[in-house]
Symmetry: C2
Subunit: 363 residues, 2 copies
C-alpha cells in the first residue's frame, strides 16, 4: 500500500498491528505443527491451550472473581439478545426482564427478547434521539425481575454509563460489545457481561460472555443447546466446534493488551484519544457532537458537520488521506470515529489534524 | 517446518494450499485497501462482493435451482440441530419430525431437536454400532411429518447414503457437513441441506444452509432472530455481523474447487483416493474397516488394527513421518483418515505406503 491507513470502522474494527503480523506470520504453520491454526481440531491439545490461555488472560486483565465463567458463544452479541432471556428469564416467576433503551442496539436487545419473557423497558432516551443515558433510579427496579439489561457503551452515538445503576438483588447484565476492556470495571457488580468480539477483541462471529455461576441454573428447556450457558460452561465452550480462529486471535489481542500495561493503562490512552477529538469539537461550532457531554465515552466519537454535503466531502477527502471508515451508522448519519483500544494515538492525531484543516478550508 | 505434513483431521480440516497461501499473502492488505479482510465492515461493499461471489460460486458448483436460498448461519451444523425444528416443525400440525439415526451426529441431531417438536426416529443402525445406513422404505415416511432428516455422510464411521430415500411430499433435510461438494447431487430433491464449514468449505463457527424458499414460512415465534432462516434470507445473512473471515475463506475454497473442474471432477479424485485406502483394507485382515463395504463414502475412512496397542503405535509413527491427526473419534477409537476435497492424492498415497510398511513390520 502507498500510505498508512487508519481504520476508524465501528466493527469489525482494526486490531493491533503486532497481532495481525503474528497471525500472518504463523498462518501456515502454527507452533511448528506444519498446519494452520484454522486446520487443527478444537479438541487438539494445542488449541485447548489457546482457549485456556485466552480465558486466563481475560481473568487477569479484569481481575475477575472466581465465581464467574468465561464463555465463547456463537453468533456475536446479537445472538445473546435471544440467549439472555432464554437463559435467565426463568429467574423470575413471571419472566419479567427489565431493559434500559439507550440506543439502537439496546432497542434491538429488548426487541429480540420479547419472544422469551415479559420484557419491560423501564427507561429510554429514544425521545431525545439517544443523546444521553436515561436516568435510572433504584426505585424503578422491580426486585422480582429476572435481570436488568443495559448497554454499557452505545456504539452508534458514543454515550456510555459512567457508573452503573444499583440493582439490589437483581442481576445487572451489560452489553459491553463496544467497550469491553476499555476501562477498569468492578466485575463483581455484574451478573453477566458480554461482547461481540469484533470491536475490542478479535474477528467477528462469536461473543465473549462472562456470567456469575449461580445464574447458570435458569435456562428454559427450549434453549438451543449451543445457546445454553450452562451447557457451554460445562463443556468450556467446546460443546461443538468453536470459532477457533476468532478465539486464537482474541487470545493474541489479550496478550497484547497485557503488554500495554493492562486495562488501567489502556484506559488512560483511551481517555487521551477521546479528549483530543472532543476538545476539538467543543472548541468550534463547525463540528457538533451527537451526545450530551456528560455521557461521553471513549470508544465512539459521533459528530455532525454543518450540512450533509460537507459530511460527504469530509468522508471522501478523509478516505483519500488514509482515514478509513468514518461514516456514521446508516441509522444516524454524520461522522463516527471509532477509536477502540487498538487505534494508536497517532491515528487520532492525524484525524484531528485533518478535521482542523477541513474546517479552515470549508468553514 | 522440516517435512511436508498431511493433515487427516476430521475437522477443522486441511484447506487447499493455494487458498491458505492467498489468505496469508493478503491478510494485512485486502485488495489494496490497506486493512485486513477481518477489519472491514460486513456492510462494506468489498465484503458484500465477497459474500455474493461465494454464494454465486456455490450456486454454479451445485447447479442449484433458483428457488433455493444460500445462507450463512452462525454456530456450525450443531446449531442447526436446534434451528431446523424451530424453523420447520411448524409445517406439521403435530410438529412431527422424522429422523434416521445412522451415527453419532445423526443421534445428536434428533436429541437437540426434542425440545422443539415431536421427534420420531424411524430407523437406526445403533444396534450394529452404525456399521451401515439403516434401510428406509417409503412406507415408513408419514406424509404428515414436517420433514425427514438424514445425515448424508457419517463423519465418525465414513458411511454415506449412496442414494437418498424417496420422501414424497415430505421435505428431505440432509446434514452434509462432512461431504458437501464432494459428489454430484441433484439439489432439487432436497428441502434443505446444511454443513458446518470446517471440513470441505472453510474455517469453523458457521454453517452453510441451503433451503427451498417455500420452507421459510414455518418458523416458531420462539426462534431466536439469528436462527430464523426467513430473517437470514431476508437480510442475505447480514442480520448481524457475520463471520466475515469464514465466508471469505469459503469463497476462496469454492473458487479453487471451480479451478479443479468443479464437483464432478473432484468426485472422481475423491473416489480414487478412497479406493486406494479401501483396496488396501480389503486386501488384508490386518486392517479392518469399521463399516460394511456397500455403505462406504469417500470422505472418512475409519478402520482398526489388530489391537489398541498397535493402533497407538501406528498413530505415533504416522505422526513422526508427517501423517497428522489420524486418530479416530473419541467415541469410536481406532484410526480415521479424513480425506476431504483438499487432501491431495499424494497424501493418500503416502498414507497407503505407510500402512503397508507398518503391516509388514508389525504384522
Amino acid at each position: 500500500m502507498s500510505q498508512q491507513v487508519y481504520n476508524f470502522g465501528a466493527g469489525p474494527a482494526m486490531l493491533p498491528v503486532p497481532v495481525m503480523e503474528q497471525v500472518r506470520d504463523e498462518f501456515l504453520n502454527f507452533q511448528g505443527m506444519g498446519v494452520s491454526i484454522i486446520e487443527i481440531s478444537h479438541r487438539a491439545k494445542q488449541f485447548e491451550k489457546v482457549l485456556l490461555d485466552a480465558q486466563e488472560r481475560f481473568r487477569q486483565l479484569t481481575n475477575l472473581p472466581d465465581n464467574y465463567k468465561i464463555l465463547f458463544v456463537h453468533g456475536g452479541a446479537r445472538m445473546q439478545f435471544s440467549a439472555l432471556p432464554l437463559n435467565l428469564a426463568g429467574r423470575s416467576a413471571s419472566k419479567k426482564c427489565l431493559y434500559v433503551e439507550s440506543g439502537n442496539f439496546a432497542k434491538l436487545a429488548n426487541k429480540d427478547a420479547k419472544a422469551f419473557g415479559d420484557i419491560q423497558v423501564i427507561a429510554s432516551s429514544a425521545d431525545t434521539n439517544y443523546d444521553r443515558i436515561p436516568a435510572v433510579d433504584p426505585s424503578m427496579i422491580d426486585q422480582d425481575a429476572a435481570y436488568l439489561h443495559v448497554t454499557g457503551n452505545n456504539t452508534l452515538y458514543g454515550s456510555r454509563w459512567q457508573t452503573f445503576p444499583e440493582t439490589g438483588a437483581v442481576p445487572l447484565i451489560v452489553d459491553q460489545t463496544s467497550e469491553m476492556l476499555s476501562r477498569v470495571l468492578d466485575y463483581s457488580k455484574f451478573g453477566c457481561v458480554y461482547a461481540g468480539l469484533q470491536k475490542n477483541l478479535g474477528p467477528a462471529g462469536t461473543a465473549l460472555v462472562v456470567i456469575r455461576e449461580d445464574l447458570l441454573e435458569y435456562a428454559s428447556p427450549q434453549t438451543p443447546a449451543l445457546l445454553n450457558y450452562k451447557v457451554c460452561a460445562g463443556d468450556n465452550s467446546l460443546t461443538n466446534t468453536a470459532n477457533t480462529f476468532a478465539i486464537y486471535v482474541t487470545g493474541l489481542v489479550l496478550e497484547w493488551l497485557q503488554q500495554q500495561g493492562g486495562v488501567a493503562a489502556i484506559e488512560k490512552i483511551n481517555e487521551q484519544k477521546a479528549k483530543i477529538l472532543y476538545d476539538l469539537i467543543d472548541g468550534t461550532d463547525y463540528f457538533r457532537g451527537v451526545i450530551l457531554p456528560e455521557f461521553r465515552g471513549t470508544m465512539n466519537v459521533s459528530f455532525n458537520l454543518p450540512s450533509e454535503e460537507l459530511e460527504a466531502k469530509f468522508l471522501k477527502e478523509a478516505g483519500e488521506v488514509g482515514l478509513y471508515a468514518l461514516k456514521g451508522h446508516r441509522s444516524v448519519g454524520g461522522i463516527r470515529a471509532s477509536i477502540y483500544n487498538a487505534m494508536p494515538l497517532a491515528g487520532v492525531e492525524k484525524l484531528a489534524g485533518f478535521m482542523k484543516e477541513f474546517e479552515s478550508k470549508n468553514g
